[in-house]
């Protein structure tokens, strides 16, 4: 375990040193958060009855999403793995006494946590001191809060397992960016529009997929949009998808390593 902890540490430290990127990301996140809330509030004013989420739930959803964007976004965290494959440096990685899947999982998760750690505090701080209706509220109960605390790391695990599969697919595609993989996940995980705004039949299906087990869960559990027994069910679904994606990823990795080619001699 110590070796994986060491890998996490060096990735985490490495991720912390990009301060300018964090500052730039922050300004984007504020701008995006305000724009989204303003757009939704226009719809809400037009017809509150047709609005599938309580407005305060939506505001919390958007601010937590912006605060933890790096934690849950399906893109941009598996760069080292992808680069290793494309450049051929995978050769060195394979000479280490480490399970490559575990290593990539740890590194991808560490990248996410490091970037989110730099960005979440300012966003949350501002979101809490804004005047209503822009202000973010506390969770309705201690139960919802504790389910949220469970759902965040699980959501991270699901999205990381998904990202690692994306990275492994590079063995076949040799492409640094697999757009379909990423955009599909971002869309169906509720990255652009929260899932309650999807048409009923679509929403019902998507909520059962791994995409519904990513940011959708913690973000909606926090405000109580998914509450009580539904929250428990949601967390169980997250555990199921994490296990399934983990197994699928490990199998795919084993298959890929048999045909691995070290690019560039």
């Amino acid at each position: 375990m110590k070796k994986y902890a060491a890998l996490f540490k060096i990735r985490f430290i490495n991720g912390l040193q990009y301060r300018a990127a964090a500052a730039a990301g922050l300004s984007t996140q504020f701008a995006w958060g305000f724009m989204e809330i303003l757009a939704f509030s226009a719809f809400y004013r037009a017809n509150p009855a047709a609005f599938p989420m309580e407005f305060s739930h939506l505001v919390s959803y958007i601010w937590i999403q912006q605060a933890f964007l790096a934690l849950f976004a399906p893109w941009g965290s598996g760069g080292d793995a992808v680069e290793a494959i494309v450049s051929g440096n995978i050769a060195y990685d394979l000479t280490r006494p480490l399970d490559i899947y575990n290593r990539w999982f740890i590194e991808t998760a560490a990248n996410r946590v490091a970037r989110a750690a730099l960005r979440c505090t300012p966003v949350l701080f501002v979101a809490f001191i804004l005047p209503p209706p822009l202000k973010m509220t506390l969770p309705p109960s201690l139960f919802q809060l504790s389910m949220f605390v469970l759902a965040v790391p699980l959501g991270l695990c699901v999205v990381t397992a998904y990202s690692v599969i994306d990275s492994i697919s590079t063995f076949y595609t040799m492409s640094r960016y697999n757009a379909i993989f990423v955009i599909m996940a971002d869309f169906f995980a509720g990255g652009y529009i929260p899932l309650p705004f999807f048409p009923e039949p679509v929403r019902k299906v998507v909520e059962l997929t791994p995409f519904g087990a990513m940011q959708n869960m913690p973000l909606r559990i926090y405000s109580g949009d998914i509450a009580g027994p539904d929250a428990v069910k949601g967390v169980v679904l997250q555990i199921f998808w994490f296990a399934a994606l983990l197994l699928a990823g490990k199998m795919l990795m084993r298959k890929s390593l048999k045909r691995v080619v070290s690019q560039g001699g």
């Binding site: 070796k3 060491a6 060096i10 490495n14 040193q17 995978i90 050769a91 000479t95 006494p97 080619v261």
Partner: protein, 324 residues
């Protein structure tokens, strides 16, 4: 102990002719070609041996090394290193080996070298005491000192290569694979690296397998040579044997004043210009000392040098002989 028997490996390579039309055509049907990288490669290397693995570009050297390191899986054949098949028991196997790929870097680019070393220590679970001892020894022998505090990206190639070699040895591997370790190094760095490898082999009994295009590496380091060409092992023998095999002729370079010295039987003039005479000599007909005596008898000689065939020439003639 390393044993390879009948290893075969092919790669599938996408090919197309140059040009726009061909590129469009390749959108619909892609042509692949199977390239045989290794054909029935077999050899055996004992513990503590130093072996030079040579061959022209694309002969299959790196592929063999990668198979022995557990990176690539061959289609057929067996490979056993200390009782393990590398690609089947990769994690257990790589714990016992060290690898340097001269064209790649294993050091983390943005952090000081010593941070990379410590991460490697944790990955291999090297005992703190052993790590300290190895690091001190490597730092002294490879003259690392201040280099270790510098981020890898700021090091020169030679400095980095010394750090790369140290990084591969922190866990005291039993076998060291060096894939072109002196590529692009200046003379001083090359000599430092060679001396270090020699010492490592002598003192720790580390088995060393080295691929290189630099024949001086081979001459300085290895007694045994494996020659590979077009994916097949062509020769396996000592450097001396190979030299004898290719030619025993000596080259004499003579500088003289005035009239040119007389040439006798057993000598062949290769060049005679501005008082400098290059002679190729067959020592089985005329010994070197007799040749010099006879040359000196008829002319005023200012300088003489004698050299055997160089490893460089030998390999070139071997490549020619096997048409690889």
């Amino acid at each position: 102990m390393i044993t390879l028997s009948n290893i075969n490996k092919t790669f599938k390579v996408a090919k197309r002719q140059a040009g726009f039309g061909r590129a469009v055509k390749a959108l619909f049907s892609r042509e692949h070609e199977l390239v045989r990288a290794l054909t029935d490669v077999s050899f055996r290397i004992g513990d503590g041996e130093m072996v030079g693995y040579i061959g022209p570009n694309g002969a299959g050297k790196s592929t063999t090394i990668k198979i022995m390191c557990g990176i690539l899986t061959p289609e057929s054949g067996a490979c056993e290193i200390d009782g393990r098949t590398p690609w089947k028991e990769r994690v257990a196997h790589v714990r016992e080996i060290g690898v340097v790929f001269g064209q790649r870097s294993q050091l983390w680019w943005d952090v000081p070298v010593v941070d990379s070393f410590e991460l490697i220590r944790d990955i291999y679970k090297v005992d703190e005491k052993l790590y300290k001892r190895n690091l001190d020894e490597l730092a002294a022998l490879l003259d690392l000192g201040e280099l270790m505090k510098t981020p890898a990206r700021s090091l020169s190639l030679g400095q980095r290569m010394r750090c790369e070699i140290a990084a591969s040895l922190l866990h005291s591997p039993k076998t060291l694979f060096l894939d072109e370790p002196t590529i692009g190094l200046d003379a001083v760095s090359k000599i430092a690296v060679r001396q270090f490898i020699k010492k490592l082999n002598a003192e720790h009994g580390t088995t060393v397998i080295l691929t290189t295009h630099d024949m001086q590496d081979i001459e300085a380091l290895t007694e045994r040579i494996l020659l590979i060409g077009k994916g097949r092992i062509l020769l396996d023998g000592s450097l001396e044997e190979l030299k004898k095999r290719s030619s025993e002729r000596k080259t004499l370079v003579v500088e003289y004043k005035g009239a040119a010295p007389e040439i006798c039987f057993g000598m062949a003039v290769r060049e005679d210009k501005d008082g400098r005479l290059v002679i190729s000599l067959d020592p089985s007909i005329l010994s070197v000392s007799d040749a010099i005596t006879s040359l000196a008898a008829g002319a005023e000689i200012t300088d003489v040098s004698v050299s055997g065939v160089t490893a460089e020439e030998m390999v070139a003639s071997l490549y020619k002989e096997y048409r690889i």
